[in-house]
């Protein structure tokens, strides 16, 4: 049984889906919207990086290191363009296909883990069951590796793993996006606060209200009032 709060919180959950296959994008989008998530689909790793504002890594690192007042003009300009890009809604989860033309899902994973988006969980998907590939992705920081075709039960499993994981804290994600949003943000700010304060309650709800056998119990069951 899924609580109303669970459903409501899922609506705030934004997934970036990356896949070069039109059919798989449609399927993934439907799987995710069916599960009440917000979805953005892109058809390549390059578009994903663009969306996340990670197109020019070197300039972005420059911006993060130098102070806004003293930075050289070229770095300032690139900071501005990056901050415009990161005014996208925050991203709570990235799901990417492994084999794509251009940058692979693994390369995308590494780029994300090397960036300010590193705390966003990344799930890699592939139609091929290659153990060395799976290990490589998991060791590279992937949250999960899914075999295609992806099913509803896979999406449910990921969600429950994320919300029951003691590391998961939506407040710490997307540092740049949050800074940029500080103006725009009454609504955004309150959503973020709401997620933080409900964190513990959500874990309890997850532990007691979901009853599927493949759950990995990471929290003790607490009584839900």
């Amino acid at each position: 049984m899924v609580s109303a709060r669970d459903e409501e919180e899922k609506h705030l959950f934004h997934v970036l889906a990356v896949d070069d296959s039109h059919i798989d994008r449609k399927l993934l989008e439907r799987l995710l919207t069916f599960s009440s998530y917000q979805v953005t689909c892109v058809d390549s790793g390059d578009k994903a990086l663009e969306y996340l504002g990670l197109v020019d890594i070197h300039q972005q690192n420059e911006c993060e290191r130098s102070s806004p007042l003293s930075s050289p003009s070229s770095a300032t300009i690139s900071c501005e363009s990056i901050s415009t890009k990161s005014e996208v809604s925050k991203v709570n989860l990235i799901m990417t296909d492994y084999s794509m033309p251009g940058i692979s899902g693994y390369d995308l994973l590494k780029r994300i883990k090397d960036s300010s988006w590193k705390d966003v969980p990344v799930v890699v998907m592939s139609s091929e069951n290659v153990p060395s590939r799976i290990n490589m992705c998991l060791e590279g920081g992937a949250e999960e590796f899914l075999l295609k075709p992806v099913k509803l039960s896979d999406v449910e499993k990921i969600h429950s793993n994320l919300i029951s994981s003691t590391n998961y804290n939506p407040c710490e994600e997307n540092a740049i996006a949050e800074i940029e949003k500080s103006n725009n943000t009454k609504r955004e700010g309150s959503e973020i606060d709401k997620n933080c304060s409900n964190g513990n309650k959500r874990k309890a709800a997850a532990a007691t209200s979901l009853d599927l056998s493949d759950r990995r119990p990471r929290v003790q069951e607490l009584p839900v009032s």
Binding site: S21, H22, I23, D24, K26, L27, R30, L31, F34, S99, S127, K148, P149, K151, L152
Partner: protein, 136 residues
């Protein structure tokens, strides 16, 4: 009419044309997305026609680019798998196996099988969707 549609649908599963992935597509269909299954299948056929043409073009150039053929077929297999097209998927795998060992005759034969299964499923699904629509 409804019984006919159900009969046709069950036959597709029993005869091995469709696997459980098709059930997953059906599970994703609801009042808000009442034509989801048909939309995905349509997309599959648009996509796969393009892939078939691509293979045919590649087969015209000798010596064959087996890597390219394998690549295209990999995409084809992936799409087939995503809609639960069991027989089509199997023929795609077989084609890839012939590709991997550079078996020209095997590839040619197998490509015909892929096209046949692809067309057969299309006909059957079109009939099924037609009946299902009339039954509503």
């Amino acid at each position: 009419m409804e019984r006919q549609a159900a009969y046709l649908r069950n036959a597709l599963f029993d005869q091995g044309y469709l696997d459980e992935q098709f059930l997953q597509l059906e599970d994703l269909q609801d009042e808000a997305n009442p034509h989801f299954v048909e939309e995905v299948v349509k997309l599959f056929y648009t996509d796969s026609v393009r892939l078939i043409q691509s293979i045919e073009l590649t087969l015209k150039n000798t010596p064959w680019d087996f890597e390219k053929l394998d690549n295209i077929m990999h995409q084809f297999k992936g799409s087939s798998s995503s809609i639960g097209a069991k027989k089509v998927k199997k023929e795609c795998s077989q084609f890839q196996e012939y590709c991997n060992v550079g078996n020209v005759e095997g590839c040619i034969r197998e490509f015909q099988e892929v096209k046949q299964e692809h067309a057969a499923l299309k006909r059957k699904l079109e009939n099924y969707f037609q009946l299902a629509r009339e039954a509503r």
